[in-house]
Each structure stands twice: as C-alpha cells, then as structure tokens.
C-alpha cells in the first residue's frame, strides 16, 4: 500500500489506566502495529495525570472526557462514556482527514465503534476478549441480557471478529450465532523482554515471601470462583505432605476473606500468604522466583497469566480448560491437571520434586512463548486481517 494503513483503536482502557487485560493488550498490539508501518490512533478514556494527547512508542493516543457525573450503574456509565467517545472520535477522524478502519475492543466501546462505522462508512473490526455469558456462567437478569445483546450487536456489525484462542472462537460463535468465516483466531501475546529487565538480587527479594527451604507456589489472578483459587487452597495440605512450600496468592476478590479464614482453620496461615495487588516489578520478580506457577481456572478465555509465568521461566501447572488447554502441551511446556484438589496436588508435587523435569518444562515453555506468542508476530497477523478486510471493502459500494 502506498500510504500507511490508518487504524483507529477504540478501547476503554489504555496505560496508565489499567483495569483488566484489555489495556496491556491494546498497548502492545498498537505499539507493534506502529513498528510494522501501520498508523495507529488510540482513542481511550481519560485518566488523572495522563495527557489528552500524546505519542507513546509511535502510537498516537487521544484521551477523551469520559462521563464524570455519578452514574446509575456501570452499564449506563459505559453507554454515556460511548456518547462522549463517539463525539470526540468523530471530530478527530474529521481533523485527521479520515481513517481506513475502526477496531473496537469488547462491548465497552460497541456504540462508538458502530456509529463511527456507519457515519464514515469504514469497516469495523471487533476483538472479543470475554463475554458476559461466560463471565456469569449464564444470563440471570435484564442487566446481564442487555450487555449480552450489546456484545451480539457489536459482533453483528463487525466485519470480522477476532478472538484470542480457539476456545473463544467456538464460544463466541455459539454465544452470538456467528458464521464461522466471520471469526479469526489471533493469540494474545507476552513481551518476554520485560522479564529480562531488572537486576535485583532475587534470593534477597525471595526472603520477603518465603523461607530459604520453602519452595514457592505462586497464584496470580482475581480471587473469584471462576479462577479456581478455592481448588488450590484445598490442595495445600495435600502438597505439604510431600514437600515444604510457601503458597503466595497475588490478587484480590470477593473470595479473599472466606479463603483466608479457611486457611486459618486449617492451621496453615504460616504457609499461605495473601499479598493483595502488587506492582508490576514485584509481580515479575515473584514470577521469576516461583518454583511453580498454578492456574487452576474453571473458566478461562485465554490464560495470559500462564504465558507470563512461562516468559518468567517458571514451570506452570494449569487446569485443562478453555484457552489454557491450547497454550500448554502436557509434559512438554507444562502440566495439565483436572480442576480438583487431588489432581492439582499431583501436578504441583510432580514439578516440585523433580528438578530436571521442571527445568525441561521451563526451557520448552520459554522457547514456545518467544516463538508463538510474541507481539511482532501477532501484530503482523492483525495487519493481515486489516488488509484482507480492506480488500473486501474495496469491492463494496461504500468504498
């Protein structure tokens, strides 16, 4: 293409605003697209201290005035924010002299993306990171149905729908009744170079969390039912029968209180450490120190935390579900277990008691992460989707 492809990314979060996984995803995707000769304009919500307009690693970022009055509820806020986002993005597209494609991330920016598509008559792409019906394991109220229908509306209006695992492709296809050829699988990525940085003394750092003779079993994630943290807690005594370990639990959630109570009743409070949220650097160092990282999820669209552990060269034990099933090859890049305490305890002790086995998993997993889940490759795949869509678009009466 003579002039670079211009894409407008719509996302409700972008660093330094980080609420979930969309923020880092859009950051790394945009940065690597920019390196790959795509002109990327990110339109996102404002954040205290962050400028309205800046260039970050070759990406132009515009922060809009999100809705600031008190809102009746979260979904109403999302729709009101979209009204503002669409208005400001429309003015921006006009001042830029147009863009070639709109790329929306999740229902949180559905309205803005759909409106811009029709007004400027440019194709809309959607990445579906997660679904309401999956998060809630069904739809139980009008509120949840409204969000589900908004997600369906976005996938209906999108030229293509990108999902980050084969599991999510089949889930999204089922949830919204989409035709197979509308869906594209492009994995999520991890930046392994982030883990090569930092020169702290890890043995010193480790002492903040565990005794020298204790192995570290690390869990990173929200403390909610779907993440299976309760399975790990139930497996703690079974693992301690075989090996001396400290369980480090990073993250918050509604299950934190009941689980720490449970640990006290088991008499194991000195073996399980709930850290709450930690900063990025602490998290990466913990992942580097971990003798095993555990991802015991019951529902998992992708499983980025397993990839991060692999990039940190920590062996992983994951439940054989959702996106995790695709990331991990059993006995090669990690250990797959059933989501129950006995199976999980078996997997964890296997890794902790056989150092040669653990090292083999570390090396294989790290190599796979760098080859398969690197952002350069992912951004190239995304660019190819843009080009394919624009090729199809050029044959329509909108072009």
């Amino acid at each position: 293409m003579a002039s670079p492809l211009r894409v407008m990314m719509l996302t409700w979060e972008f660093p330094p605003r980080i609420i979930g996984g969309i923020s880092p995803h859009v950051y790394y995707l945009s940065k690597n697209l920019a390196k790959n000769d795509v002109r990327v304009y990110v339109v996102t919500c404002d954040f205290p201290g962050a400028p309205d307009h800046e260039t970050v690693d070759g990406v132009e970022v515009f922060r809009i005035d999100s809705y600031k009055n008190p809102s009746p509820d979260f979904a109403s806020w999302v729709y009101l924010m979209n009204m503002n986002m669409q208005k400001e993005a429309a003015a921006l597209v006009k001042s830029l002299g147009g863009v070639d494609i709109f790329h929306a991330h999740d229902w949180l920016v559905a309205n803005a993306g759909i409106g811009l598509k029709h007004i400027f008559r440019k194709p809309l792409l959607a990445t579906i990171h997660s679904t309401e019906i999956g998060r809630r394991n069904g739809l139980h109220s009008d509120y949840e149905r409204m969000i589900h229908e908004t997600e369906a509306w976005l996938t209906y209006e999108a030229w293509r729908v990108i999902c980050c695992s084969n599991y999510m492709v089949s889930h999204v296809k089922w949830a919204f009744g989409l035709p197979e050829d509308k869906l594209v699988m492009i994995p999520n990525g991890v930046d392994a170079t982030e883990y090569a940085k930092g020169v702290v003394d890890l043995s010193q750092f480790r002492q903040r969390f565990a005794l020298p003779e204790e192995k570290i079993v690390l869990y990173v994630g929200r403390l909610v039912y779907e993440k299976g943290i309760q399975i790990l807690i139930s497996a703690v005594p079974k693992i301690l029968e075989k090996v001396n370990a400290k369980f480090v639990i990073v993250g918050n959630g509604y299950m934190k209180e009941p689980l720490s109570e449970q640990v006290k009743h088991m008499g194991l409070a000195h073996k399980v450490l709930f850290t709450g949220f930690v900063d990025d650097e602490t998290l990466r160092n913990l992942q580097k120190c971990a003798d095993v990282s555990v991802v015991p999820s019951l529902f998992e669209p992708f499983g980025i935390v397993a990839l991060e552990a692999m990039a940190a060269k920590s062996p992983v034990v994951v439940s054989d579900t959702g996106g995790l099933s695709e990331i991990v090859e059993h006995d090669v890049t990690g250990v797959k277990v059933y989501p129950n305490p006995d199976s999980l305890a078996w997997g964890v002790t296997r890794v902790l008691l056989d150092e040669n086995y653990a090292n083999r998993l570390r090396e294989n997993a790290y190599r796979m992460v760098v080859e398969k889940f690197n952002w350069e490759k992912i951004s190239q795949q995304t660019k190819e989707v843009y080009e394919r869509v624009l090729g199809e678009y050029s044959k329509t009466f909108w072009a």
């Binding site: 009055n69 729709y79 409106g115 007004i119 409204m146």
Partner: protein, 208 residues
C-alpha cells in the same frame, strides 16, 4: 432546502404531544418545498415510508433488553446515525440541517455535526427538570447532561413559549440570543420555523 427531523415519536407511534406536532411540521415543510426526512422509532414497522411528501425512516432498537429509558435511548442512537448517514450519502452529501426534537437523539445529532458538519436545531417540547419535578438522581442527571450537550452544540434552540425560553436560560444558562420562540398557534407558523432554518450559520440550501 433538505432537512432531517429526529423524533422518538411519530404516528402511528404516539407517546405524548410531540408525535402529532412533528407530523404537522413535517407535512407543512414538505408543502413549502422543503425536502423533508423524518428519522423515528418503531418497534417493528421499520424501513422507509412516504406520507404527504415526507420520507419517513423508522428504526428499531438493536438491543431489545434494557434497564431504563436512558440505556434504551443510548443504544438506539447508532441506528439513527446509520439511517441519517445513509440519507446523507444518498443525497450526495447535501443535508441543510437536522432538527432534533427533545433529548433522545441529541447524541446522534452532535456526532453527525462533528463528523459531517451538518448543523442542527434543538427543538424543545419538554425538559427533564419538569418531567422529573426537579429530581436529581444520577439517572436524571444523565438526561440533563444530554439536554445540556444539545443546547451547547445546537446552532439554534427552538422553544414554543416565552416561559420555556426562561426555563432553558434558568436551568442551562443558555445565552438568550441562541433561543428562538416559535408559537405554533401564532398564525406565522410554519413560516417562522423556515426563517429560523434559513438563519442557520453553516447550513447549505442551494445545491446547484
């Protein structure tokens, strides 16, 4: 002159007084050689219709389940934008102005103005402060913020009485010069509406 009217009610959908007023206005405009489009809502009678020279486009809500009229309105606006954009492109990008009645499709009118430089008139039938008897819950505040946006972005605000002009000034601090009082009973109507339309800055009326 080519005008698109936005109204959330238009016969056969009648919620309040607005439906009949907007139809009278559309029919009169058509009689006065204004090419008139109406974009409105209907649950299932969707598509393009023609009545008395007025081209009516009815859209439905792409999201059927809602928790309030606020969320209902906010997902309907993109359908209004879609149809208005279709009219814009089909007419060779030549729309003189949009006349948005009440708050419901203000988000669409504002975005279309920013994107395609189509100026709009905000015609006020009623205000949230009166409908909700001054209540100020987050729900009312959201609707008021949309009314405020409409008054801020509109080229002209049309009200039907001196009292309503005073209310717009009291509640939203609108400059008096931006408000035009047009009494439908005055005998001047709809000539006075046409005068307001013609006075719009940035509106294009002659398409060679």
């Amino acid at each position: 002159m080519r005008v698109i009217i936005f109204s959330w009610e238009y016969p056969p959908r009648v919620v309040g007084k607005l439906a009949d007023y907007v139809r009278d206005l559309a029919l009169q405009l058509a009689k006065n050689k204004v090419e008139t489009f109406v974009v409105t809502y209907h649950d299932y009678l969707t598509g393009e219709f023609e009545e008395g020279g007025v081209k009516i486009h009815r859209v439905t809500n792409p999201v059927k389940t809602h928790i309030s009229v606020l969320t209902w309105v906010l997902t309907l606006n993109q359908e209004v934008e879609r149809v208005a954009a279709n009219i814009y492109y089909k007419t060779g990008k030549q729309i003189s102005l949009i006349d948005a009645h009440d708050w419901h499709f203000i988000p669409a009118a504002v975005t279309l103005k920013k994107a395609l430089a189509i100026p709009f008139v905000y015609s006020i039938e009623s205000l949230e402060d009166h409908r909700s008897h001054g209540a100020n819950s987050p729900f009312n505040m959201a609707i008021k913020s949309i009314e405020w946006l409409g008054m801020y972005e509109a080229s002209v605000i049309i009200v039907k009485s001196k009292w309503m002009a005073g209310e717009a000034i009291r509640i939203y601090k609108v400059p008096e010069a931006k408000i035009k009082i047009v009494n439908p009973e005055s005998g001047l109507w709809p000539g006075d509406i046409l005068e307001v339309y013609k006075s719009l800055k940035g509106a294009v009326f002659n398409y060679g």
